[in-house]
Every structure is written in C-alpha cells, then in structure tokens.
C-alpha cells in the first residue's frame, strides 16, 4: 500500500488501512513515547491514544509532511501532555515548595529501566534517564529522537518544524546540561 492509498484508506476509516498503519507505526509511537514519558505502561496507553487520534484527525492531514512525520508530532504532543499533567499533580503536593528548592531532588526519583537498554548499561542509563527528565521540552525531544529513535538532525528538524541549526543548538545545550547534571550526581555519589 502506498502512502497516499494508506491515507485515503484511513480517511475512509477502512480497517485494512488502519491495520497497515498500526503495523507500520505502533512501534515507532511506543519507543518515542517511552523515551519521553519514561514509563512503559503510559507509553502503551499513548499508542492507543495516538492511533485513535490518527483515525480521528487524518481528514485534517494536508500532506505537507509525510504521514510518519505527522504521527511523530502527534506522539510528541501527547507525550508532553502526559508530562505536564504529572507536573501539575506534583505541584499540588504538600512538600512541593521544599522539592522545588532542592536541586538534587531529581536524583532520588525512582529509576526508569528501559527494557531495550543493554544489561551492562542498565544502571548508567537509569541515571541518564533521570537527567533527561530535567531537560527543557525541546531539548528532551531532540535528544530522544536522536539517541533513541536514531533520527538524523534533518529528520528531527522536519518533525519539530524547525531548522537543522536549531536542532544542533538544542542537542549542544542538552548535552551540556546533561553533563552538568551527571557531574553533580556522580560527585555527590562519591561523598
């Protein structure tokens, strides 16, 4: 099935087309979502939400990007919604004031064990994921798409609707911030 046939089938709510889209993109959605929300169950829920949204909104798809790029954008948008909802819940907590003032609080969050990380890297990756959580949204998205989804800067620029130089800048800032956070973590760990 070509992309235009797939889009046409989705617009007609054809089950065969949806099945094809699901096979093509569900894994991409799952891995991208997991890289952003750092929770396997929530990532699975997001797959369902995104695929529903694809069927609902495909009539609005103008074809200015590829279907894959459009689905990436939906995934990122819904993943960020989850993160923002979590942050709002945390702000309502009794000890929020204390935790906001504490720059080390991120180090004590529960580990996220990504099932795809190699065994010898599990512990280091768990620390890295906590640090990634502290990045600004744009930096987090760029870093996740590059490191977890192996997207090139050009592809990331298209997904994020920005320039390649902006993506380079985001990656540079993300790495600097991660280095700083990890330095704090490992220096505290030594004490």
């Amino acid at each position: 099935m070509t992309e235009s046939e797939l889009i046409s089938g989705l617009q007609k709510k054809d089950e065969r087309a949806f099945n094809e889209a699901f096979k093509l993109y569900s894994s991409m959605v799952l891995n991208t979502a997991m890289g952003i929300v750092h929770d396997h169950d929530e990532a699975e829920d997001l797959v369902q939400e995104v695929m529903i949204e694809v069927l609902k909104s495909v009539n609005k798809f103008k074809g200015e990007s590829t279907l894959k790029t459009w689905i990436y954008r939906l995934t990122i948008s819904k993943s960020l919604d989850i993160l923002r909802a979590k942050k709002r819940q945390k702000r309502g907590g009794l000890f929020t004031f204390v935790s906001l003032k504490n720059d080390e609080s991120w180090m004590h969050k529960p580990d996220f064990n990504h099932p795809g990380v190699l065994l010898e890297n599990k512990e280091r990756a768990a620390v890295l994921f906590k640090a990634i959580d502290q990045l600004a949204d744009n930096q987090k998205i760029a870093f996740t798409l590059h490191k977890l989804e192996n997207r090139s800067y050009k592809e990331i620029a298209e997904i994020m609707e920005t320039s390649i130089s902006s993506v380079e800048s985001l990656m540079h800032r993300a790495k600097k911030k991660l280095q700083k956070l990890l330095k704090n973590f490992y220096e505290l760990d030594r004490k």
Binding site: L30, V47, G116, V117, L118, R124, A125, L128, K147, L182
Partner: protein, 96 residues
C-alpha cells in the same frame, strides 16, 4: 575508582545499542481493537448528534415562542379589566 568525567561519558553513551521495544501481539491486538471501537463509537455519536441537536433547537424555539404568547395573553387580559372599571366610573359621572 573511575573519574567523574569517565562516568559522565559512559552514562551519556549508555543508550548505544538500545533495542527497539515491540508491543506484544496480545497488547497490540487489544490496543488495535480499542482504537477501532473508540473511533466507531465517536462516528456514531457524531451521526446522531446532528439530528438530535436540531430537535432540541426547534423544541427550545417552540417553547420560547409559546411562553411569550402566553405571557402576552396574560398581560392583555389584565389591561382589559382595568379599562372596564374606568368605563363604569365615566358612565356614572355622565349620569349627574
């Protein structure tokens, strides 16, 4: 004991070789079915919503219309009875 810089570098590289996660066939099937059901239900709601909203709209207009007519009628009735009383007083004055 490793230096901090080495540990940082290792942490940054810890995602190398990361495997892509696949949905298990059972989970994939469940999600697929739920997604299809959700869009079918929404489609049906959208199809019935339009005639239902028309009916509600027309009913609301009719109720307002009849309500207004009833109010007008009740107001006119009280005005007529006031005029009759004035007529009686007028007639009795002429009598003198």
């Amino acid at each position: 004991m490793k230096k901090t810089e080495e540990k940082i570098e290792e942490a940054l590289n810890s995602l190398e070789g990361i495997e892509r996660i696949q949905l298990s066939p059972l989970v994939a099937d469940r999600i697929f079915q739920k997604a299809m059901e959700a869009t079918t239900i929404e489609e049906k709601i959208r199809q019935t919503a339009t005639p239902v909203s028309w009916v509600i709209g027309v009913a609301a207009v009719l109720v307002l219309n009849f309500g207004f007519l009833f109010w007008m009628n009740s107001t006119q009735g009280s005005t007529e009875s006031t005029e009759t009383l004035s007529g009686i007083y007028f007639d009795s004055e002429i009598g003198y």
